[in-house]
Amino acid sequence: MQTSHYDLPHVKNSWCPGCGNFPILTALKQALAELDLPPEKVCIVSGIGQAAKVPHYLKCHFFNGLHGRALPPATAVKASNPGLTVVAVGGDGDMYSEGGNHFIHAIRRNPDLTLFAHNNMVYGLTKGQGSPTSLRGFVTPIQVNGVANEPFNPLAVAVALDCPFVARANAADIPRTKEIMKEAIRSKGLALVDLFQACVSFNKINTYAWYKEHTYYLDGSHDPSDRMAAFAKAVETERYPLGILYRKEGRPTFEEQQPAWKRSAEPLYARKLDPEKFRKFLHSKVV
């Protein structure tokens, strides 16, 4: 499939020129195209923020809901129609701050969806406040003495919760980001990809150059099925490892454990109550 299949030429893009969201958009279109997933098969669910605007710039079904609340509707979309490829997209504030509770419980629930968190270590859309992943000391109009809280470590938490797919990408590297995305989408269960992304307007510390300098790719010596090794990688912060940190086979998904999907593969919209069965059921209340 061509990446142009996903273009929406009539929609004006409102990201800043040079924003690190552009390479993510490109990589995502490439990943979908290479996986031969047409727009009609893909549903993006997002929250609010710069990252969360992705579905306005990529042709697909979408549910662009509330700040922080992408994962519950994404889970529901998948559980209502498992035939769709469901992708949840949001920023670091969206997914890890306002949406933090859904993040940890979605991992427990394990719906078969992919979560792309655009991690620019700042609040972009609201103009430069600290985010849960901002590094200590990052000065902003709110954190006037620098960020004082420990950065949230999404990968370590995901490994702690035995998330079946945990990865990090540097968005500026489109080809390798695309490959990680493809793996994530293919993987069964909840797949988390934390995407390092430059915000050229509000983050003058964690720039394209910074991300490049402070990351390295995991090589064959890392065994992603080893949870302890994955955790060790997840807590590295001098240079952040890129690639697939953790993979766990065999965790059942949310949908497949629901009786509704054990007996039929028909999307819920196509199902109807069996009136005879229901009448019989009500008759059992005539005691």
Partner: protein, 569 residues
């Protein structure tokens, strides 16, 4: 107090009282079934503390020859299971009340018709059988057939093993025979005509009625976070989920609940969220999202006294304003407030059809009193005539928010047809993409608001009970229907009527005329400020002459309602 010889004809109120864990629920469960099979009309309601063991809880069973739906203070027969029980209900006892039990155990100064409950229980195998002894006692007073109930109760306990079943039946029989002897002596006589139609009716509590009404409306997805008194609905749907392929999820919090329910509707499921006030408050932002995205949604809101945690197992009608205005910005919504278990079924079913057809959110407002009301209802309208889900098969050029003449954009779902389906939380264009344009904003807001008129056209009219030529009108909504209806004839007042609203928003177009016809308006509500009266004042610029309000967490009884209305008249 109480002479001991007492005869009850027409109707009797039986109250069982004791600590949590004493088995009162089992008596209620079995007795109500046995009485209904026998042709009695039965209505049960319970009140309980927010604790798992201990305390004092009670259940009232009203048994009569006609349909009953209200709670009375009056206790005709009291079966207290422990020392605290009598005190717990003491103010409800009258000179006509009969207490059945052991004076020594109860340590009360009131006259007691001696029934050696604990001795008989011990005889059957231990103190835990006391509830079956009580059941047998009552069964015989109601003239049930000894052999039939032995078989029936035996069958009920079968799954707990032969030994348990045997002992329970033995306790039942011991109680039964003691009761027969009492009746023989004429100590207590119950003489109520039977009505064979009860046998064919369904026995449901309010929670089940909401749950099964939802199923009848096509509900195939339920998500919730447990919260009294709304959890019963979730449990009822969970029990039915294997049979009816309902997706069930207990979420991490109520915010997840509302957003998950919206995602489900968006993808073509028909989802119910069930909660109580605190959880509903947490859903506020999500309701606004439903409004903006024009996604259907059904929420069951079982009210309990607030603010905050309040009295978590008690009843109130204190969340009307919350349900009316929760969420930021302005958008239409529908609020149903069923008055009976039967209406709980019907309106929950209807909620799904209206939500679907009108792409709107519908809240079904109940309360602890209604969800814990347990009675039999006539075979309901199953909505076989209801329209099929209003989903369109999308074409390639599909636009989710197309501007149409009637303000309803045909609703597609992802995967059904060739089109792309969107939902957007920002102000958006017809395709669902973000806009800043002022004119389009206004058109979109007008489109959303225009739904209000459509919803008014499809609203449920209020029900008028009493003299159609009224001068004084009592106004009520939701679960107080049976209690006001029963109190009405007790008021010695001419040209009096009662107008009950089972849909509280939007108000049916006739409401204003009906209200304005009255010279005197009195509201009766289970809250401390008269929220529904305020809504009517706002809509029709009218004044209320009196407010009959109650907010101690206990339901209005027929007697209290009659007294309070009498004062207000």
């Amino acid at each position: 107090m109480a002479r001991v010889k007492r005869a009850f004809t027409g109707e009797v109120s039986v109250v069982l009282c004791g600590a949590a864990g004493k088995g009162i629920q089992t008596i209620e469960h079995l007795l109500i079934r046995l009485l209904k099979r026998e042709g009695y009309h039965v209505y049960a309601n319970k009140e309980y503390e927010s604790r798992v063991r201990g305390g004092s809880n009670s259940t009232e069973l009203r048994v009569g020859a006609q349909r009953i739906g209200a709670f009375v203070d009056r206790i005709d027969l009291l079966v207290p299971l422990d020392r605290e029980a009598v005190e717990h209900v003491r103010e409800r006892l009258t000179a006509r009340s009969v207490i059945l039990g052991e004076k020594e155990v109860l340590g009360t100064d009131l006259p007691v018709v001696e029934v050696p409950l604990s001795k008989l229980a011990a005889q059957a195998g231990g103190a835990i059988y006391v509830n079956l002894v009580a059941l047998g006692l009552l069964a015989s007073l109601f003239g049930l057939n000894r052999e039939e109930i032995m078989v029936w109760v035996g069958a009920f306990f079968e799954r707990k093993g032969d030994e348990v079943a045997r002992r329970n039946v033995e306790a039942l029989v011991l109680g039964f025979d003691f009761g027969a002897a009492l009746a023989g002596k004429g100590a207590v006589r119950i003489d109520i005509p039977r009505d064979p139609t009860t046998k064919g009716e369904m026995l449901l509590d309010g929670s089940e009625a909401v749950a099964y009404g939802a199923l009848a409306g096509g509900c195939n997805f339920v998500c919730a976070y447990p919260m009294s008194p709304s959890t019963g609905v979730l449990a009822a749907l969970a029990r039915a989920s294997n049979d009816f392929d309902v997706v069930v999820e207990q979420c991490e919090d109520e915010i997840a609940v509302v957003n998950m329910a919206l995602g489900a509707w968006f993808a073509g499921a028909r989802a119910l969220a069930t909660t109580s006030g605190g959880g509903f408050a947490l859903m506020s932002e999500g309701l606004s999202l439903a409004g903006m995205t024009e996604t259907p949604l059904v929420v069951h809101l079982a009210q309990r006294p607030g603010p905050a945690t309040g009295l978590s197992t008690r009843t109130e009608q204190g969340d009307l304003n919350l349900a009316l205005y929760a969420g930021h910005g302005e958008f239409p919504r529908v609020l149903y407030a069923p008055g009976t278990v039967e209406q709980a079924f019907t309106l929950s079913r209807k909620a799904f059809h209206i939500a679907d057809a009108m792409q709107t959110q519908v809240v079904v407002l109940t309360d602890q009193y209604l969800v814990d009301s347990f009675t039999h209802i006539p075979w309901p309208d199953l909505g076989d005539g209801d329209p099929a889900p209003a989903l369109v098969r999308t074409k390639a050029d599909y636009k989710r928010y197309a501007l149409t003449l009637d303000g309803l954009s045909p609703r597609g779902v992802p995967g059904f047809g060739e089109g792309l389906v969107t939902a957007d939380s920002h102000e958006h264009d017809e395709e669902g993409h973000i806009i800043e344009d002022r004119e389009l904003r206004v058109r979109m807001q007008d489109k959303r608001l225009s739904r209000h008129r459509l919803l008014m056209q499809r609203s449920v009219a209020p029900e008028l009970i009493g003299d159609p030529d009224y001068r004084t009108l009592i106004v009520g909504w939701g679960s107080t229907l049976p209690v006001i209806a029963e109190a009405l004839p007790l008021l010695k007042k001419k040209r009096l009527a009662f107008l009950h609203f089972s849909q509280v928003w939007p108000l049916h177009p006739e409401s204003g005329t009906l209200l304005k016809k009255a010279r005197r308006l009195i509201t009766a509500e289970q809250n401390s400020t008269g929220q529904f009266a305020a809504l009517l004042r706002q809509e029709y610029a009218l004044d209320f002459h009196d407010y009959v309000l109650k907010y101690d967490g206990r339901p209005f009884s027929v007697e209290e309602m009659a007294d309070r209305l009498e004062d207000a008249l």
